[in-house]
């Protein structure tokens, strides 16, 4: 894979703030790829995006885009465009004027071509007929579409998206995620997409870069984070629950809950005698009512199709999602099996 964008050893601190905001971040993107920068609040993902865009400068390291070193260049000279969490539309302009804002001011095209390109962009974003409207007349989703179109009109080498859908309701968010993917396929647009939502990252990105405390913990395909987390932080971020201390002895995992041989786990990567956490996904419960495991329900929180239950079992409290067709009340006994495919082990 040849690198189209290359972030090399990026370090960043803020004055008056303890510790590094970004530490030794290395990341590459191929042309036409979407990479999601994922992490909790304060993990440094927006700072990294701002460094790429030129709105912030790094203390150390360099940013190379399409063979050109961007360090020291102002944002307007970088051939990147950014879409922010807020749509940041220019309220004094119409939808069309917002969309062709940058090429119009930079006289990038002849007037007729600018008009044609604006119309094409409106069509691409399903905003035909909105060109002459004031942006104050748009809904939240339409505003974000215009913001996206305004960035795409500059034909950037790299599109930077900073949580562009986080303020939208869930249905609109998924619809726009599909559109962003579609735009990526149709235009071959390279994108760096910041989000704190792992489902959003999994839906939109070819690869996910997971930032943990300013360090790039891992870059992998989205499903690998879900099925094979490498650290406790990763496991927690990607929806794993039930972290039970364990160790590896004679090829088996030993914990307070008992000994297990997990066929899906490549134990060769783990070393005997070291501490680990056995992680169990909440969706691991099956054969409810007839399984070999049993416990007492401590609390039950309905979640639509399932009920998230805290179950006292073998000296541990497990969080498991049980099918909603079974009614579970605190204090009741419940039996179940656990799907070994939804077990995983991470270093403690």
């Amino acid at each position: 894979m040849s690198a189209f964008l290359s972030l090399e050893n990026i370090y960043k601190t803020y004055p008056g703030q303890d510790g590094l905001v970004l530490a030794d971040v290395n990341l590459t993107l191929a042309k036409g790829e979407i990479v999601a920068l994922l992490g909790a609040s304060g993990s440094g993902k927006t700072t990294l995006l701002k460094i790429v865009s030129g709105l912030e400068s790094q203390d150390k390291g360099r940013v190379v885009l399409d063979g050109k070193i961007l360090d020291g260049l102002p944002p307007e000279k970088r051939s990147t465009a950014m879409v922010f969490q807020k749509s940041l539309l220019f309220r004094h302009l119409t939808v069309a004027e917002n969309i062709n804002f940058a090429p119009r001011l930079n006289r990038a095209f002849e007037r007729a071509e600018l008009r044609a390109r604006t119309s094409a962009m409106l069509e691409l974003l399903h905003l035909e007929g909105y060109g002459r409207k004031r942006v104050t007349e748009l809904s939240g989703g339409q505003e974000q579409r215009v913001s996206l179109g305004r960035a795409l009109m500059t034909e950037p080498s790299l599109l930077l998206l900073d949580e562009p859908l986080s303020a939208l309701d869930i249905n609109l968010k998924w619809a726009l995620l599909m559109e962003i993917r579609e735009l990526n396929v149709r235009l071959g647009q390279t994108m760096l997409y910041v989000t704190h939502d792992q489902k959003e990252a999994a839906a939109v990105a070819n690869r996910v870069a997971f930032l943990d405390g300013g360090r790039l913990a891992r870059v992998a395909r989205p499903h690998e984070f879900y099925s094979r987390p490498l650290s406790l932080a990763e496991a927690k971020f990607f929806g794993w629950e039930n972290f039970i201390p364990c160790s590896l002895e004679n090829g088996r995992l030993r914990s307070a809950m008992g000994e297990y041989a997990l066929p899906g786990l490549a134990l060769g990567a783990y070393r005997p005698g070291e501490g680990y956490y056995m992680c169990i996904r909440p969706e691991a419960a099956k054969n409810v009512g007839s399984g070999a495991w049993s416990g007492v329900v401590k609390s039950a929180l309905p979640q639509g199709l399932g009920t998230l239950c805290e179950i006292e079992c073998r000296g541990e409290t497990l969080k498991l999602v049980l099918p909603a067709r079974f009614v579970h009340h605190p204090g009741e006994s419940v039996s179940f099996d656990l799907d070994p495919e939804l077990f995983w082990v991470v270093p403690s």
């Binding site: 865009s53 030129g54 709105l55 102002p74 944002p75 307007e76 000279k77 051939s79 990147t80 465009a81 950014m82 922010f84 807020k86 940041l88 220019f90 309220r91 004094h92 804002f101 940058a102 001011l105 930079n106 305004r150 960035a151 500059t154 950037p156 930077l160």
Partner: protein, 265 residues
């Protein structure tokens, strides 16, 4: 709702403009006192004041002076106000208090000192001196007003523009200025009206060689040998430019919510 708003505007208009009606009538009469009910209309006072040779040059001086004070005050205060309104830094509150000083301290306590300094600098009783003296008061005033405007301004709009490939200057012209346009107009109007009415400062620093309209009209009003009609005519000449300015900027004044929110106005 729309009807109630119209009614309120109509009442406000009557209350504000009603006092002007007798002035306007008086300015076109020769004699209109009890028991005369129907006055003799005559435009003589207008002609006499215009022919007087002092009013028109003073009107021109005042128009030029207030316009330049407004322009300079806006230009000089724009960037400091933007920093004050959009950034947090150590000493910001102290700086805001210092900017309030010219508004708090009575002018009379400083104008005579200014007169001495301006005499030494060759700025006494001339146009540049009068302009400079006024700017000492109106630059901090405009800075405070505009800072309040910038407190409601989202600096991310500029970041957005620049990441789209638009340079600093174009961003300022096509993003920043339109976003704070109403606030700039309101600040300008207040600087113009404030400087239009300056009497003491101009009297001390500008007289005797340079005259502004208040400097000519106030003695005319206070000297007892003038009729109501002459005074009314002079006052109409004095307030007409301000009314005209308010009229052409009324839309911006109506949207000055950000200034009123911060209790600046």
């Amino acid at each position: 709702m729309k009807r109630a708003r119209g009614l309120i505007l109509a009442v406000a208009g009557i209350v504000l403009l009603f006092p002007l009606a007798p002035l306007l009538l008086w300015s076109f009469t020769t004699y209109w006192r009890w028991p005369v009910v129907w006055p003799n209309f005559d435009g003589g006072h207008w002609l006499r004041l215009i022919a007087d040779g002092r009013i028109l040059p003073a009107l021109g001086n005042s128009l030029l002076l207030s316009t330049l004070i407004t322009c300079f005050a806006l230009a000089l205060s724009f960037f400091p106000a933007k920093i004050l309104g959009t950034r947090n830094f150590r000493g910001k509150r102290l700086l805001e208090l210092l900017l309030l000083v010219p508004a708090f301290i009575p002018q009379i306590s400083v104008v005579f000192g200014m007169q001495q300094v301006f005499m030494k600098l060759g700025l006494y009783s001339n146009f540049p001196g009068t302009l400079t003296a006024n700017l000492v008061f109106y630059v901090p005033y405009a800075t405070l007003l505009l800072a309040a405007v910038f407190e409601d301004y989202d600096i991310a709009l500029e970041e957005q523009s620049r990441t789209l490939g638009v340079g600093r200057l174009k961003t300022m012209v096509f993003v920043t200025l339109p976003a704070v346009r109403s606030g700039i107009i309101v600040t300008g109007v207040f600087c113009f009206i404030g400087s239009w009415a300056v009497y003491l400062l101009n009297n001390v620093v500008a007289s005797p060689r340079f005259h502004t309209l208040p400097g000519v009209i106030f003695p005319l009003v206070s000297v007892g040998n003038n009729s109501y009609s002459t005074i009314a005519t002079a006052i109409i000449i004095y307030i007409l430019p301000v009314l005209f300015l308010l009229f052409i900027t009324s839309k911006a004044l109506a949207s000055a919510g950000n200034l009123t929110k911060h209790n600046i106005l």
